[in-house]
């Protein structure tokens, strides 16, 4: 139904002897916010930089808005916005001068949004960019990536350096931009940072895509970490029955820990009547998801309704 804004097929990228991407396949659809999640060195920046023709693939095919990045050249890049993962802004020019210049390069597009976006992110445009804090530099990066309303925004760790309040403001902005017609591809190493905004995510590690799914399904498949402490000894038989569905179960005196998948209702019901002193069910974090994904090639149930 909707077309692909990014289509990557069998993408391999070597840096000398280092294989950074080892056969990445990925499709991002028009109008979605797509999260690209992976630990340090997974290959997120390498992938994004290939989409912008800053790097050339070793093998595989890449289509961005239907075009090969190299063949598309400036004409294609005019339709993209990019926030680099390691943004370095130097020189004595002010943020306003830099942003006006970047708008100039795009034939003036986006110039009118510099002031409102800066105001929204409490960015002082008249300070030399060199003297801005990391977070403020990041704001300059966000503004320049989105100001010209690109068809596709490629954002490499956009939330890094922003405090929680500004992260929220940023995510709100991303949603607005999406609603205004920008497809968004953003990377992060923390799923929780972007899961509220991403429609779908891919988990990447060691240059391969481990899982692609929508966030809710992934969450459900990931399960929750259970940590329960009893007030007094529970008969072993009862415990066995109650905790039968818990994976990776570890019992340590009065405390039991493990992974619970699925609805928490039945678990809580089965604990009823037992002397529970403390109960915690917490969403698992990304590292655990990725490790799982690698253990089974996909977490159980992921990809299925």
């Amino acid at each position: 139904m909707s077309t692909a804004v990014i289509a990557i097929d069998g993408l391999v990228k070597d840096y000398g002897d280092v294989r950074a991407l080892d056969g990445v396949d990925l499709e991002v659809r028009e109008g979605e916010i797509f999260g690209f999640i992976g630990p340090n060195g997974a290959g997120k920046s390498t992938t994004i930089r290939i989409l912008l023709d800053l790097l050339r693939p070793t093998s595989g095919t890449v289509r961005v808005l239907g075009e090969d990045p190299r063949a598309g050249g400036p004409r294609l890049r005019a339709r993209l916005g990019y926030l680099p993962g390691e943004l370095d802004l130097d020189g004595t020019a002010t943020a306003r001068q830099l942003l006006e210049h970047l708008a100039q390069v795009r034939g003036g597009r986006g110039s009118d949004r510099i002031a409102p976006l800066a105001e929204r992110f409490l960015l002082d445009l008249d300070r030399p960019v060199r003297t801005l804090s990391k977070g403020n530099k990041q704001k300059v990066g966000v503004v320049q990536a989105l100001m010209h309303r690109p068809q596709l925004a490629l954002l490499d760790e956009p939330t890094s350096g922003l405090d929680p309040l500004l992260q929220q403001e940023f995510l709100t902005l991303i949603r607005e931009e999406r609603d205004a017609g920008t497809s968004v591809f953003l990377s992060s190493h923390v799923l929780s940072e972007i899961e509220g905004v991403a429609d779908r995510v891919a988990l990447v590690r060691d240059g391969r895509i481990a899982v692609v799914d929508d966030v809710a399904a992934l969450r459900a498949a990931a399960g929750q970490r259970l940590d329960v402490t009893f007030a007094s000894d529970v008969p072993l038989a009862a415990l066995d029955r109650v905790l039968a569905g818990v994976e990776e179960l570890r019992i340590d005196g009065l405390r039991a820990r493990g992974v619970w998948r699925g609805e928490p209702g039945p678990l809580i019901a089965s604990l009823h009547g037992l002397p529970v002193a403390r109960l915690e069910l917490r969403d698992r974090d990304l590292e655990e998801l990725v490790i799982d994904a690698y253990r089974a090639d996909a977490p159980e149930g992921a990809g299925q309704p």
Binding site: Y15, L52, P74, P84, D88, D90, G91, V105, R106
Partner: protein, 268 residues
């Protein structure tokens, strides 16, 4: 057509970002002329010559002091042949190495190279902006020297000073472009500085030794410093062959940068 516009936008931006640094360098170069030119009459041409005459002749030649007693020789030995090129080469090679490789290593090139501009256009804009800066500093040196020569009443022609200033500009732009090109090809600032500086220094030494060693004419033919100074531009005017060679060197560096830079991975 829009490529031309892109080049101009890039040139303008590079000059805007660098204007403060440029002003500082202009002051330094004006100071070099300001310190050395008025010093001439105080020494009295002949007096200086007699001091120099006590040195061993090989040393005099190596230092380029053989004509220091004449006004033109004095300007060549101090401003045009020594301090201005030294300062300007530090400026030019540093700028050349930073323009692509330095920014690439620090990540500053990401935004420029991901913008809707062709890479060769981006590169051309940056090289021209560098040429412009070197040119403005050479002009500063030339103008301040010419003014002070007038004030002090030294017997040097304006056309000689302009010829030397032009050569200074060509010499420094050649080395600056070499540094930029090495950076554009390798992406390594340290290599760009090392290559630019070592060619510049060995070229200076070759020029200095050319009057001392046997077969010095061979050194003179190979050294860009000699292309600039061997014809004694302050006294004799533009040495056409030498200046054409300097321009050719710059052109070759341009070609190398334009050939490789658009084709390679950035930031690796």
């Amino acid at each position: 057509m829009s490529d031309l516009r892109d080049v101009l936008v890039e040139i303008r931006w590079q000059l805007v970002r660098r204007r403060r640094a440029l002003l500082g360098w202009a002051v330094a170069l004006a100071a070099v002329a300001g310190i050395y030119v008025p010093f001439y009459p105080a020494m009295g041409g002949g007096e200086l010559q007699s001091i120099v005459d006590t040195l061993p002749p090989e040393l005099i030649s190596a230092l380029g002091y053989d004509r220091i007693g004449t006004p033109a020789g004095y300007l060549t030995s101090t401003v045009f042949g020594l301090l201005a090129p030294a300062l300007l080469l530090v400026f030019g090679i540093g700028l050349g190495a930073r323009t692509i490789a330095g920014e690439e290593e620090e990540g500053g090139l990401e935004l420029a190279a991901s913008a809707p501009v062709r890479r060769d256009v981006l590169l051309a804009g940056r090289i021209i902006a560098m040429h412009t800066q070197v040119f403005l500093l050479a002009v500063t040196t030339t103008v301040v020297t010419a003014l002070l020569v007038r004030v002090v009443g030294m017997d040097v022609t304006l056309s000689g000073i302009v010829a030397a200033g032009l050569g200074l500009n060509l010499l420094v732009n050649a080395f600056a472009t070499i540094a930029l090109a090495v950076g554009a090809v390798t992406g390594r600032r340290a290599i760009a500085v090392a290559v630019g500086a070592s060619i510049a220094v060995s070229s200076y030494i070759a020029h200095a030794l050319s009057g001392v060693v046997e077969r010095g004419d061979l050194l003179e033919r190979l050294s860009p410093f000699s292309w600039y100074l061997a014809g004694d531009p302050v006294a004799q005017g533009v040495p056409i062959v030498g200046y054409v060679l300097l321009g050719t060197l710059t052109f070759v560096a341009w070609a190398a940068a334009l050939t490789r830079f658009p084709r390679r991975d950035l930031g690796v």
